[in-house]
């Protein structure tokens, strides 16, 4: 996937999102929600519920494109980028051949608007097991893993958050925690309980 550049005025948005600020993310979600719904209903004749579901997927894809480094610089507005992802998702939605009768006469052609994140992470047999193990792993591993995998903090941010001297120490800690999790997964005692 080639790197996507967004408009410079939104550079701060990328930085804030990368910092793991969920309240900002929530505000951003709600900021464009209404307009997205109206747009999806108008152009794709979806109902309110479908528009809401598509917007949720759109927003998650947008977020992952930022934190996975596919989106590093804004060359259009956040709204345009969101709507471009949404458009791709809506097209996929209608590939199953149900109700697509909508016009595509809008400004949201954006081939790079990647929405593959859902296929990548939607299904994982390990999710349930890992969720249980995380309840038992103890600190600091629980926090390190949650900061890294849930909030996508950088190693530098984790080091700062947990008062480690360097990001290398944080990275080492994370690896130790993964090893601990792997051990727990193979331990019948943890498997049974």
């Amino acid at each position: 996937m080639k790197e996507i550049k967004l408009a410079s005025e939104d550079v701060d948005i990328l930085q804030i999102i990368k910092s793991g600020d969920r309240s900002y993310l929530k505000d951003l979600y709600q900021k464009h929600r209404k307009e997205f719904g109206q747009w999806a209903i108008k152009h794709y004749q979806v109902d309110d519920e479908t528009a809401g579901e598509v917007y949720q997927q759109t927003f998650i894809a947008f977020y992952y494109n930022i934190i996975e480094g596919k989106l590093t610089q804004m060359k259009s507005t956040t709204k345009t980028y969101l709507f471009a992802i949404g458009k791709n998702l809506l097209r996929e939605h209608f590939k199953t051949g149900k109700r697509f009768t909508g016009s595509t006469d809008d400004d949201f052609e954006f081939k790079e608007a990647d929405n593959s994140i859902h296929e990548k992470y939607e299904q994982s047999e390990l999710q349930e097991t890992l969720q249980e193990l995380l309840k038992k792993i103890g600190e600091p591993c629980k926090t390190v893993i949650e900061l890294f995998y849930y909030h996508h903090y950088s190693m530098d941010s984790i080091a700062s958050h947990l008062n480690y001297k360097t990001e290398q120490i944080a990275a080492k800690r994370k690896f130790i925690c993964l090893k601990q999790l792997r051990t727990m997964m193979e331990d019948p005692q943890f498997k049974m309980s």
Binding site: R22, L25, K26, Y29, Q30, R33, K34, G52, Y55, Q56, F59, I60, Y63, Y64, I117, K120, Y121, E122, Q123, S124, E125, L126, Q127, T129, L130, Q131, L134, I145, Y149, Y150, H151, H152, M155, A171, K172, K174, F175, L178, L181, R182, M185
Partner: protein, 248 residues
């Protein structure tokens, strides 16, 4: 190769921080060391599983934001609906109020005021069993009055009063009957006459004021109404005051 070095390569691989040289070393190791390859696969699975958990975590957050947004939107819509409802209600209320004010203001027309306030006075002669009820003209006159046959009533009562001019009570009903027939002058004379009967003085005053309204003698009506309204013991004092307000 030492285990510590293998771990460092694995850690850098998972953090996507392998240098070009380390990448070559890593790939070579995977091909030659089955145990290392198995470790890499196990950690990749673990890393993917945790990433999926992170994805699910965000998905749940986003779902809760959606619910919150829907609730806020619904509340907002409800508030707007309530606001619209109250706005419409307020507008209707204002329109009704304006209508009422306009209606009453437009009722300053004396004839309208007459229509709003006039009802024929009840028959007190036949009901009270007056000594005079044996008089045929009076009886027929009052019967006609009660049946709203005012022409006949006026005729009969007029005939009665010509024989008994001091029977002022009958003059009240004759005056009212004549008012019904728009015989204003005759009505006025008889109502004035009826005022001589203490029993019918207030009634006569009241019907005189109504007669003046109906005949559009506004100033006379006003004078009579003021007279009635100033008498707090008058049985139509309040009504007279109300009419005066509207008449002004």
């Amino acid at each position: 190769m030492e285990d510590e070095r293998k771990e460092q390569l694995l850690q850098n691989y998972l953090d996507n921080k392998l240098t070009t040289k380390e990448t070559a070393e890593f790939n070579k190791l995977i091909k030659e060391d089955n145990e290392f390859a198995a470790d890499v696969q196990a950690f990749e699975t673990l890393d993917h599983g945790l990433s999926s958990l992170g994805y699910q975590h965000l998905k749940n957050d986003v779902k809760s934001w959606e619910k919150e947004w829907l609730k806020d939107t619904t509340d907002e819509t409800k508030t707007q609906s309530m606001f619209s409802f109250y706005s419409v209600a307020a507008v209707i209320l204002i329109l009704i109020s304006v209508g009422i004010i306009f209606y009453y203001n437009s009722s300053t027309d004396p004839q309208e005021l007459f229509a709003q306030n006039y009802t024929p006075y009840q028959d007190m002669i036949l009901q009270r069993g007056s000594d005079d009820v044996e008089n045929q003209s009076l009886t027929e006159g009052m019967q006609a009055y009660n049946m709203q046959q005012y022409d006949l009533a006026a005729n009969k009562l007029n005939h009665y009063l010509s024989s008994f001019p001091s029977e002022y009570g009958a003059a009240l009903y004759l005056g009212i009957s004549q008012m019904e027939l728009d015989n204003f002058d005759s009505s006025e004379q008889n109502l004035v006459l009826a005022m001589n009967d203490p029993m019918f003085t207030q009634q006569s005053q009241w019907y005189l004021s109504l007669l003046y309204l109906k005949s559009e003698q506004t100033e006379k009506a006003r004078e009579k109404l003021i007279e009635i309204s100033l008498n707090k013991d008058h049985y139509k004092s309040k009504e007279a005051s109300d009419i005066l307000e509207k008449l002004d």
